[in-house]
Symmetry: C2
């Protein structure tokens, strides 16, 4: 989508990438510049001057000889040099010609404020398509159109008309990229309110050129950036997002994303039964989790996560220690921790002894530790309690809860600084109804301050999850080559093959899956009653008969399945019945015969599916079958291919996972065997991506000897774009 | 627990209740008063003087002749009159004697700050018990001990040492009662930050005298109070809480409660299988919902609800209209509304026509309405869009989302005032990163302002729920007499009976339930093989045999159930097998014989239970049976007795309620029949409260002819206290 190797024409310096020219320009032209600084086309110049941009600035507008003391050029051709970046603030109808002129003048990058493109319906989409083609043809990297532009606060680049730039824009460790201008500006302002500081603030607009992921991938490489935050409204580039997540994990920088559109609006109209359970957002959510992204459900949660993650301390485990001034607040926070799977560990004996020495008689010395309000009379009480608690080997992150104390701000700031200096574990201060001065001073000391207990716990949980993310990501990196090799092995076997589109025969599909290491119940295709009886004899026990036809995917709907047949007459009659039913119900269908299969049994019924996601490619789904999948929709997704370890994590995300451990006296199922099945199927699906359109294994029965796929519908549909 | 008819000794005026003396005293003694205004015993006097309390104030302390210009009395005896209220700020050891002296002096009420009572373990509890007895004996109504006291801001009564009183304490429409001092003070300060204003702020402490519910019941009668808010850490008085909820509903005043302790810490150790699913908090939560209380999960949600509920507009339906400046924010809010069951209705044709007239081409005219940022150039755009949307007949509450706009505060305040004047529907302003001045001015105009979209939606949902609550409460009031009469009819039948403790015989229990209108599968007790065979013949089909013994409640555990017996030999042999198995497994058990029962069938399996809750008395539970109840714990509770309408609401709260509508081609179950069963069982359970300890109907099978109880365990255990 972009040309990252684009070099600056006509310079003697080493070539800079177009992205570098965009984000860190040494010179900027403002096409359509205005001396009215309150207007959209006047604001960038105002900000660049006021905030001290040190590069060269070239206003371009035939109406003015100069603006704000700067020479103003009548057009792009007249510019004295090819600037790194052009800001385009023109009516939509003039944009394409401008981009062409910029290209001819050798300008590498442009940010386009103008609206009137893809956001305006079919006609606008066509205009945008034409703009994109023009930019590609002229080698201009474009950001936008229909965007507020961006801020690079490190280098005082204010290529924006966002209200955010009106206030203080001191640089900080957060890079924030947003697809929405209005909401993004609000979030940027909230980040500032928290005192965190944005290093980059970028609005991507319609993304006719650089995408959300392109821009984020560029800015996270900046060593001054510690945390990446994104706000998304739609996903245009799944593979880019996965690369971004993987790169963030490599760099050890957390990536926090908020994406709107969680509910049914995004439901996919899939043909197959299990496919219809896939709500796009569920897939998005699962793939993000798979790749270590921290998803925030709204802007407040994003800000809470950012605040905690901007701290430079990472917890070395998942144990939460709580010190509070109110027993009730302690209970509330411990409850929330339990809900989030965060441990509030009992304290080690030595910690209890040490705490007993500093605690007043009426405080409780468990975890949470209740120090009551007595620390005002005796400040050491709070200091020593927190330091002692954080020294416990099972405590990895702390929360200190207090309220008001307007008269004791100096004292408390001093205590918290002492705590910080006496421990290297991360801790969060939760100060309810805090004096604003206290919050300001503590944040200036680099401390993390929240105003509500449950939010502090959620932030602590995000810290712990970030640490787990880094561990899993390292594991995934180690597995990547082996998985790629496994996919390549399968792909090599099919190389040169050509497959027919449509529903694959059961015998063929079962054979392929079996060869891929997916345990499948054996199937025999029979074409008349005698063959059916022979197959039954071979099975040596009760069998199932199923009609076989590429045109009948939902066999039960036409009465196309007969269970537990176990004598010659029944089997013979069964064959005839199925062929007749199918002929009556679907006279147009091609009938290949009947599948004979030994009855399988299992204590648990799963559904496993593969589908081709428009964003993320081949995606696996596993769910608990029967009523549970239909009513509870207890399903989990993963992008293929993935390892057995990932398969285990997948199973762990099932809400009804307790069923895997066995209920009502049943033994636990072999999770390892199930995870292996999932992983192998994911490898096969990834290799078959050029042909496989969807696959349903429904049910997969899990019995004492492991899982076995009992029924499968496999559909191929040629190579697709993307 | 308190003496509400206590009159003031020695006055000629009409008798005032002790609660009135406590909350609205015309004279206050401060026992243990100090001239050091920063200390706990100095702060009340400081606040009373500074905030302009107009009643008489009597400091009591032998150390001082006067404090702050007021005569100080050496002891209670020396007081010139019996004050309405005494504030007791003495060491714990002196409190009881003080209360006795106050009683003798004719003081009706005392608030006790002192700690060192029930919160200090077993010894403290004993001291508190003695204090309580002393207060009762001397006719002194006590609030506390171990509390921060209270504020009645309407009458400038500051009987408190809470930090809350240090700031501005202007009276407002919220009454806030808290069991926690520290957390409560923080919440009170947050209420103030929102500009809402507390009329009453009361900390109940250990509740040795008046309870949370007593105090709340007293303050909600004040016509200046519009909303009741409570923070609880433990429930001491279930019936009082139910009375409070009912009274609030009668008055049309919302009751918002936060109670900590949502998680497993409160799990009840109940003997029976279904009973063990009951986490105390689930019961608390369900009974609160039953009686129309709005439960807030934490203090932030409580504040959000309070802010919305303090508005004097009530929505007349559940339709939410959204106007936004950002499409993404609109999607996020619509998603949240869907999650909360709030409708975001499509707009009526006339609304769409009217909106099209005022909307710019690039805004979307659906609901949410996206006005973009263009309204700054054209203010009428926002004004007319919102007024038009709110005029839609399907829209009952509105949210207007915008951000920043620091330069346009005057304009926007004016627009919102115009909107308010042109509609009588409630609307919430969600202004993200708003200039503080804007929030202040809008709140001063009586408008509701939030800073985050999802929170605004949650607040709108609380408004809608409050309206539903009032409707349901009116229905419940209308049903109350009939339910009480039904309970009395059953109670009359059992009057004079005496029952044996322990497990009741199956035949007896089934008979009682059947008579109460609960459909039960017929049972026959047989004592030898011949009788078993005869019972099978009578059944006319396959039967179940179950061992019958008051000592064996979990029959399956000893192999005490045989299914689907349908010939003479099997039935005869079955009888012998069961008697033998029971004799081997439980040699000490009394064996009454074997129950013969026709096999029942149903498409759905429920569990229904009754348990005696220590707080709320007889409580019914219904859940989806089998694996669903064991793993998903999909159960719902209600306090008995309740109506069929309540039974229907109960079924609606099951997470898997879709199963009741039939899946996989099954017909929907008869919800009315099920609700009738639940209601009748609740009436019977309420009548049997003196004897019934617990009852398990597990399973109840629901088939085409309605529900039928197949197995029941009924345990009696004499009359209990409370």
């Amino acid at each position: 989508m972009m040309n990252t190797t684009q070099s600056l024409a006509g310079t003697a310096e080493p070539a800079r990438s177009a992205l570098d020219c965009l984000l860190r320009p040494r010179s900027i032209a403002i096409v359509g510049a205005s001396p009215q600084f309150a207007k959209v086309n006047g604001r960038p110049l105002k900000h660049l001057i006021e905030k001290g941009y040190t590069g060269r600035i070239y206003p371009v507008n035939p109406k003015y000889p100069e603006i704000a003391g700067l020479a103003c050029y009548p057009d792009v051709v007249a510019l004295p040099e090819a600037p790194d970046l052009a800001i385009v603030a023109l009516p939509a109808r003039d944009v394409e010609a401008c981009i062409a002129a910029l290209g001819r003048r050798g300008v590498a990058a442009a940010v386009i404020f103008s609206s009137g493109f893809g956001e305006m319906g079919a006609e606008g989409k066509q205009i945008e398509q034409s703009l994109r083609a023009c930019a590609d043809a002229h080698g201009v990297l474009i950001c936008g159109p229909n965007c507020l532009g961006f801020v690079n606060a490190f280098d005082n680049v204010y290529a924006t008309f966002s209200q955010y730039a009106d206030g203080d824009t001191g640089a900080g460790p957060v890079a924030f990229v947003t697809q929405s201008g209005a909401f993004g500006t609000a979030i940027a302002a909230l980040v500032r309110q928290r005192g965190l500081g944005l290093g980059y603030f970028i609005n991507t607009g319609n993304e006719a050129g650089v995408t959300f992921s392109d821009l984020m991938l560029a800015v996270i490489e900046d060593p001054r950036i510690r945390v990446a935050a994104g706000y998304m409204e739609g996903m245009r580039d799944g593979p880019g997002l996965v690369r971004l997540a993987q790169r963030c994990a490599e760099l050890g920088k957390p990536l926090v994303l908020t994406k709107v559109g969680r509910m049914a609006a995004g439901v996919r109209a899939a043909a197959s039964h299990t496919g219809s359970l896939a709500v796009e957002d569920d897939v998005f959510d699962a793939v993000l989790r798979q790749h270590g992204v921290l998803r925030a459900r709204n802007e407040e949660q994003m800000l809470d996560m950012l605040e905690a993650l901007c701290s430079d301390r990472v917890p070395q485990g998942g144990g939460l220690g709580i010190v509070t001034q109110s027993g009730g607040a302690g209970v509330m926070m411990a409850d929330r921790a339990e809900e989030l799977g965060l441990e509030v560990p009992p304290l080690a004996p030595q910690t209890q002894v040490a705490l007993a020495k500093v605690m007043p008689a009426f405080g409780a010395a468990g975890n949470p530790v209740d120090v009551t309000g007595q620390f005002v009379a005796n400040p050491d009480l709070l200091l020593e309690s927190v330091v002692t608690l954080l020294a416990d080997p099972q405590v990895h992150v702390g929360i200190v809860w207090l309220q008001l104390m307007a008269a004791h701000v100096d004292l408390l700031v001093r205590i918290f600084c002492q705590i910080r200096d006496r421990t290297d574990k991360p801790f969060i201060i939760c100060w309810v109804a805090a004096p604003p001065e206290a919050v300001r001073r503590l944040r200036a000391e680099g401390m993390v301050v929240f105003g509500a207990g449950e939010r502090a716990v959620e932030a602590a949980a995000a810290l712990v999850r970030h640490r787990q993310t880094l561990r899993v990501a390292a594991e995934q990196r180690a597995e990547r080559a082996a998985l790629a090799a496994a996919v390549e092995r399968v792909a090599a076997e099919t190389r040169g093959n050509s497959f027919c589109d449509g529903v694959q025969s059961t015998v063929q599909a079962t054979g392929w899956l079996h060869a891929a290491g997916v345990p499948m119940a054996p199937v025999t295709l029979v074409r008349h009653g005698d063959e059916a009886v022979a197959a039954w004899r071979t099975a040596g026990g009760p069998v199932v008969l199923k009609i076989e036809s590429p045109d009948i995917t939902h066999k039960t709907e036409i009465g196309g399945v007969l269970l537990k047949l176990n004598d010659e007459a029944a089997v013979r009659q069964g064959f005839a019945t199925l062929m007749q039913r199918a002929a009556v119900a679907r006279p147009e269908a091609q009938l290949d015969g009947v599948i004979v299969q030994p009855m399988a049994a299992g204590q648990l019924e799963l559904v496993i599916g593969v589908q081709r996601d428009p964003g993320f490619g081949m995606v696996l789904m596993v769910g608990l079958g029967g009523v549970l999948v239909e009513v509870l929709k207890d399903v989990v997704f993963r992008q293929a291919p993935f390892s057995e370890a990932e398969g285990l994590r997948m199973l762990d995300e099932l809400r009804m996972r307790a069923l895997l451990d066995g209920v009502r006296g049943q033994p636990a199922v072999d999770r390892g065997a199930l995870a292996a099945l999932l992983s192998r199927l994911s490898v096969w699906a990834a290799a078959m991506a050029p042909w496989l359109d969807e696959l349903d294994l429904n049910p997969v029965l899990v019995g004492p000897t492991g899982p076995v796929g009992v029924d499968c519908v496999m559909v191929f549909r040629g190579q697709k774009a993307g």
